[in-house]
Each structure stands twice: as C-alpha cells, then as structure tokens.
Symmetry: C2
Subunit: 274 residues, 2 copies
DNA sequence: GACAAAATGGAATATAAATTCCATTATCGG
DNA sequence: CCGATAATGGAATTTATATTCCATTTTGTC
C-alpha cells in the first residue's frame, strides 16, 4: 500500500480519499477504513490505541492506515478533526447545560429542550432522507403545471410556508387549507400534482383530498412521519421526517427544512428549464 | 483554595460548581475559571499547556484549578468532556461533508446546507435569547384574555403554528391572516394582547394591525429579526431571532422553535393557574 | 513592617501516548 | 510448492503531555 501525496486538508477531502482508496487496501487497513467511516466523529477525542483496538487492529496497522491516507501519522489526522471541532459549537454547550441544569424559570429550560430536540431532528433528517427520492420529488414537481399543497393541523404551517416560497418564485400553486372541504378538488386538472403533508394521527381531510385527486388521475407526493401512513400506498413518492419531541410537543423543524429544500431546488430546476 | 469533594459527573454540575466557587478563588484560578467558561467547548480537544497559556496562567495553576473543582487533574476533567462529545453527533458529520462535497444531485447538497443553517440558527437562538424577556412574554400572555396572532408572508407559518398549539391547549386565540385587512381590530377587547411576528422587510399589514391595536389600548408583544423593527418602539416586549440563510433563502427554524417554546410554557402557566 | 499563610511559576519528573522497527506470517506468481 | 513481496502484530523507542515539587513571591494580619 503506497501512501497518497500530501495530507487531506479538510474532512470532505479525507472522506473522498477514503472512498477512492479503501477498496484497494489490504485487509487490516480496510478494517480501519470501515471503522473510521462509521466512527469518524470519535477521532478528535480518541487515542490510536483505543481506535485501533475498537477496529480490531494493531496500533501499528492503524498507523500505516493514516499514512496511506497521506498523513504523517495519527496525530496529524487527529489535528484535522480537532481544528474542525474547535470551529463549531461556540459557547453553545455551555448555554445549553446552563439553561437545562438550573432550570431557573421554566421557559428557559423549555427553550433549551426544544433547541436540543431541533438539533436531533436535523441530524435525523440528514441521515434518513433518501436523496434519490428527494431528487425524484423535485423532478416530479418541476414537471407539474400547478402544485396543490395539502396539509391540516400540525402540517398546515409546513405547507403554508412551502406555498409562500413557491409563490415567491412564481411557481403556480394552491394551498388547500381544508376549511372549504374537498370542493377544491374541482380545481385540479391533468398535469397537476398534489403534495400532501400529514403526520400521525393522519387528518381525515388530507386523506380525503389526496384520495379524490388520485381518483381524478392527479398524482400524489407525500411527506409524512411514518411509513404506515395510509396515503403511502397511493403516493408516487414518499418522504419521511421524524421530529424529536419534548414531552408530547414538537417543532416541525425537519419538515420545514425539507420542504424549503424542495421549494428552492424546484425554483432552480424550473429556472433552468424556463 | 481547598478542593471540592468528588469530581462533577456531568458538565452541568461542573458549571454549577464553577459558578459557586469562582468568586472565592484566588486571582490565577479565577482567570482559569473565566477562560474555561468562555471556551468550555475546547476542553475536549486541547492540552493543559495550550489551555493554560491561552488563559494566561502557568500549567501548574491550571492544574490546581482542576483539582479545586474536584477533579484529580486535567485529564479527568477532559475525560468528562470527551465522553459527552462522543455521545453526540453520531454519523452526522460524515453525512454532511459527504452531501456537501460531492454535491451529487443538487437537492441533496441543498438539504445539507439548510440543515447546517438550521443548526446555526438554533445555536444563535440559544445564545441570543434573553431569558428574562422570554419569561416576561410568557407571563404577559398568560394574563391575556384572548391572544391575537399577527404575521404575514414569511411570518405567517410561524403564527399559524403557534395558533394551532394554543388552540390545542384551549387558550383563546385568533390568527389574523391579513386577508381581511384591519377589520379584525374590531374584535380586540380590553384585556386582549397582540403577539406579532414580522421579519425585514416588515409587512405593512402587520404594522397596520399592531398599531391600530396599540391605539385601541391593546398591548403588543413582538417577535422579529432585527432591532430596527419599527414596531419595537410600541412593543411591551420584543424577542429577536436570527435565521441563518442559504443563498437568499431561510427556514424559520429558530422562530418556530421559539414560538413553540412560548406556547408550551404558556400552556403550563395557564394550566397551573386554572 | 514583620510574620504567617496562601498563591504562584518554572523546572523536574512521571505518565501516557504516538511512532518506528523488526521478526513472523500470509499472499501471490510462476 | 518455492521464492519473492507484501502485510501483520508486538515490543522497543521516542515524543508529547500531564503532574508534582519546591523555591520565590504575594497577600493578609497584627
């Protein structure tokens, strides 16, 4: 195994190099590569000894692995992670523990809890989102003549924000608020598309509109929080977000982030085409 | 300086101890305490030598400081931070760099960008929010007979979600969508309160409703993204959130989180009273 | 201002970690 | 199946880092 030229100068480059090289590595070094990929966050705070034994490899093997990636040794690789780490998380941890610990007045503590839940929701959004499906949803929406946004209760804020963004980008869309019932389905035409957002327990009105549209030949794209959503069966594509809750309550952080991404990607796609 | 009994077993406890003891510490140790508070996130990835020189003290002084907090030494304190760190951020960093670096299809990259912006917005929410003001807002809302929620355009999703939560908790509220103009002000009565959400450039309708309410003697609470908001002058209390953008676009993550916090705290406050 | 007690900084030491070396084992081509 | 080449693991070495010790300075008290 001959070493790469210079050391990677950021984590993205390191990962790229890892992908490129790991297939051609001997057994032990490949073990290192796999362990590193799965536990990349530990590098900043772990010794070679711990790292190598967790990977099931001798320290010297891990050492050679680092050198194969272009580093002079483990320390140099660790330095990369440590510097990235120091940049992020400013005085956040401190505030968080503080608000949580003392409690002080209840609302500050609650804020800390919701912020933390938000972080977790975003992490899980990133980890769970199937980028193929996301691309497909954007693509599909780009072809639609008019986008019909459907969402009640908790999901309403999500579709209304999406509607706001689409309107700003001159993408034809209608937000179905449900107040007027299913009469809106009359406005759906061939070439249109329904983008429905519904969370457990799934609102009946959303289901009604989506199913009526489906019967009328208007395809459905779905954003939900559970694979069990009854609309999943008739949806052309389905995205799932899971919001971490505080007590029984949640902020639709992941969902808002995802629909914003879709809207902006869509704006780009339509802009390119038209 | 005599040492505390056992070592703190989490960061919250450490910070509490720090607050309790730092006032009574000699000069150099107090320097350590202050530096640690401001740079607590660095402990996991920094040596005593670096830490102490950055704090402007000798390594031995920093050592004594750690012992005063109840640790056997710096290593033991560092171990605490390292273990907390290892728990958080699972395979998140990896996904993020991945989606960002290769780009692949545009929407996946965009998602990574929005997720990261969301994290930053939440951090800044935690750092910027004045917990006194937050408590005051909750308190004030708890006394209101009816809460009037006002927000247009980008802010509409925020107030509509807040309205949804208040309704679920049986707190009387009205969401002013602006569609019907200022006629709604007729529905405001003494003892009511306006909670307005407006972001730059501030929607004229929001301003109109809030000012009309103010003239009618109905007090205003404000959530905005800038200290320059014209409504700030007439607001009884003002909360500020800053959303980190991606290009020209943003997800109202911090604002949604804050209004959810307010709503739930309010539910608790009203629940206790009634 | 002299004394005692506490605090301090720098150097010496101890500990732990990274890195290299090399004898042994596995792998591959003929 | 043999020789050559690469890979491996463990021990030895080097380097970095934490920790202690103690002479000196500062602080507070009478």
């Amino acid at each position: 195994m001959q070493a790469a030229e210079g050391p990677p100068d950021n984590i993205s480059e390191l990962l790229a190099r890892l992908d490129r090289m790991s297939a051609a590595m001997p057994k032990r070094l490949r073990q290192c590569a796999e362990y590193l990929r799965a536990n990349i966050n530990l590098v900043a705070v772990t010794t070679v000894a711990d790292m190598s034994s967790a990977a099931g490899v001798a320290p010297s093997a891990f050492m050679r692995f680092c050198q194969a990636l272009g580093f002079s040794g483990y320390s140099e690789m660790q330095a990369l992670f440590r510097s990235e780490y120091a940049l992020s998380r400013p005085d956040y941890a401190e505030r968080l523990s503080h608000l949580r610990a003392r409690g002080g007045n209840g609302s500050a503590r609650l804020l800390a809890d919701f912020v933390e839940a938000g972080h977790k929701s975003l992490v899980s959004l990133l980890n769970m989102t199937d980028t193929e499906v996301l691309a497909q949803v954007v693509d599909r929406l780009a072809q639609a003549r008019t986008v019909h946004l459907v969402g009640m209760r908790r999901a309403y804020a999500v579709v209304s924000y999406m509607g706001y963004m689409l309107q700003k980008m001159d993408i034809p869309c209608v937000v179905h608020s449900g107040a007027a019932g299913i009469e809106f389905t009359a406005s759906m035409q061939p070439g249109d598309l329904v983008f429905a957002v519904t969370f457990a327990p799934f609102a009946q009105e959303t289901r009604g509109i989506a199913e009526a549209a489906h019967r009328a030949g208007v395809p459905l794209l779905l954003l939900t929080d559970s694979a069990d959503c009854p609309l999943g069966k008739i949806a052309e594509a389905q995205l799932i977000t899971r919001e971490v809750d505080v007590g029984a309550f949640r902020v639709p952080t992941a969902s808002m982030t995802l629909v914003t991404t879709i809207a902006i990607a869509l704006g780009g796609a339509r802009g390119d085409a038209g």
